[in-house]
Point group: C2
Chain length 396, copies 2
């Protein structure tokens, strides 16, 4: 018989996907260049040429078995070493290859990390606003996702609500900084406070609480932003990284788990990920993609367009009277809607061919997300529509 | 806290992997060319040139977003269509793109198929000898793997034992033909009988029983072998395919689920796989690998070496007095050991630098597996060692 759980899930379509489909359909009517599609977080800048060149070079240099043969389960050993060396060089933690597990991007890294440190029935805490896929990530392990309400003043952490939610069943805390959807990076002050609370809770409950740090936007940080490396603040940290955004290769599905070398039983976690991968049927990213990525380890796409777009949007939104916290990174901005019901607000915006995502699925009401990973020229053109929308609908 | 389940699994190393490590170490002492390493099922023939060429062509032809952007969750739509068309053309079933879900090779396909058709507590039946990874594949879903003892006469199916094991809790039957480790392909007669029994059981129990067909060796079939396409025999079949062996690209992790178009709720299964993938963190194989594979859809590596090797080994083993069923495909052969304890037998073989895998982990006692995906020249040289081993240890 077909599993009722997964059958039922098919009937709850994603709001973001539905809006993206709408934008594509509308594009067929009026030309996609006239649809101001802020729905999807799909990188708009090209991959560095070096990445494609690395693929072609590898094909020339390597034998078929070296290039396309099985990787060991935790990943290509040389690639893991290159990742560890890069992290050590950049962030000063004593990473070795044994702390690195190659994954199919951040989704897979989080899936492995969660299964390492929780069992069914455990609680995992995250902070609103949060990426809606955290629901299936956590719930399908059998653990329960608990969401701390947002601190809407700063989109840092609502620590009072967090402390209230902590209890001995909490085995992991899942954070995302710089954050999708808010665009905010957790400050050193925030991470220090979070680490202090977690250490005290570990002491009180007599067991570790792991911090799972989802970092796909780590390399997209704007001028003046305090966006420190999470694992420096708390030993029991498992970093989950993806090259999807930094190298603009989301389709290639490559990332890693990086275990803080000082974590409890740090040397056990990668072997455990190997065991977990046997059950989920995930065995390593593509071997040629691993090797090509390793040749571009400290490289990124030209990410400057995201900051350019952010500045344009932030200035305009502020001028139009929106309440909005200035993003410190990512390619998202998360303003307050001009009426209480963000769904109604975003529905009205569609009349002006502005595709905005209401905040409800991110665990906050009354806000909306704009994914500005689009051409700057289109961002500029969208301002006309935005002004018209605000004026006609809200008299702004 | 770290999950005890996965911690414990780290302490049960794989026999095959241990033998492979031993072979590599021994190779450092005496030269790897002198170690007759029959341990691992790693393809020895190169990828077709067309596959590497396709990758380089794609890099020239496509934009960064087309090439490296997100695939939709079930896979690249054009690639799925190409897979469906190929299956339809070759096997005559009415596959459409909607029946195809792209996966990280067969392991991932099986992980998805199992979660589609079972819930924790259900039973899944397989037939000895079987690939040992079926244990974690099934057990980590929460279902239970039940193993039907082998028919050691032919390594087809022991139907009496199967019928005894069937009960209303059985929701899936997992088969692998051509088979790892026996090398045997299930005949039309076997598959007809299996399908008849399953249809009767569905009727009796009032629910579907899905046949999950693991087919990584589908393209490695030897002359005169009756190795029909499984899904033709039974509507509720989910085929799990991998290009690892047919194109010699195991490191690239690409395969698919193909749902028989006549299966119950056939159009539901791919959307369910999408939901499952959200929880396991698996979202599609690499996009460039999907597209390159599609350009080689009906191509294989030069697989003839495997049949050449099989003939040499079969003739020699038979001449030396081994009981052995002639393989119909794959790159495995599964002779009876010359003493009851296959572990002792394989241990003695190591003295002659013959690396053979004892059968216990495949669910049968007293046999051994040889993976002859190695150079024919080395197979020939190994015969000297084999003769010496048999003569000195067993007076053969």
């Amino acid at each position: 018989m077909l599993s009722q759980q997964y059958k039922d899930m098919c009937n709850t379509p994603s709001v973001i996907r539905a809006l993206s489909v709408y934008a594509t359909e509308r594009g067929k009517e009026i030309g996609y260049e006239n649809v101001f599609d802020y729905s999807l977080g799909n990188p708009s800048v090209p991959v560095p040429d070096e990445f494609n060149k690395a693929i072609c070079d590898l094909i020339k240099e390597k034998t078929s078995a070296q290039l396309h043969g099985y990787s060991p389960n935790p990943g290509n050993p040389e690639v893991r070493q290159i990742v560890a060396d890069s992290l050590k060089r950049r962030f000063g933690l004593d990473y070795k290859a044994e702390h690195i597990f190659m994954t199919s991007a951040a989704a897979s890294a989080i899936a492995h990390a969660l299964r390492c440190v929780t069992v069914p029935g455990d609680e995992v805490i995250t902070f609103a606003p949060f990426f809606p896929e955290y629901n299936p990530y956590v719930n399908q392990t059998g653990a329960k996702l608990k969401v701390v309400p947002a601190d809407t003043e700063s989109f840092q952490i609502n620590f009072d609500a967090f402390k209230e939610m902590l209890n001995p069943n909490v085995q992991a805390v899942l954070i995302n900084t710089p954050n999708n959807p808010s665009g905010i990076a957790y400050s050193s002050e925030t991470l220090t406070k979070l680490a202090d609370i977690l250490r005290a809770a570990q002491e009180e409950y007599g067991h570790e609480i792991f911090l799972i740090s989802d970092e796909p936007y780590r390399e997209i940080v704007f001028k003046g932003s305090d966006a420190p490396y999470v694992s420096k603040f708390y030993d029991n940290t498992i970093s989950c990284y993806s090259f999807s955004k930094s190298l603009s290769i989301p389709g290639e599905r490559i990332g890693y788990v990086a275990v803080n070398p000082k974590a409890k039983d740090a040397e056990m976690i990668v072997p455990m990920c190997v065991q977990i991968s046997r059950g989920t049927g995930h065995n390593c990213p593509s071997s040629i993609i691993q090797m090509a990525m390793a040749r571009c380890i400290d490289m990124t796409s030209d990410l400057s367009v995201y900051e350019t777009n952010m500045n344009i949007l932030y200035d305009e939104l502020t001028a139009l009277g929106f309440t909005v916290v200035r993003p410190g990174g990512t390619f998202y901005i998360f303003p307050k809607a001009l009426e209480e019901d963000a769904n109604a607000f975003c529905e009205k915006a569609k009349k002006y061919d502005l595709i905005l995502v209401p905040s409800d699925s991110f665990g906050v009401k009354g806000y909306f997300r704009m994914a500005y990973c689009i051409d700057t020229e289109k961002v500029k053109r969208s301002l006309v529509a935005l002004r018209k929308f605000v004026k006609e609908e809200y008299g702004g």
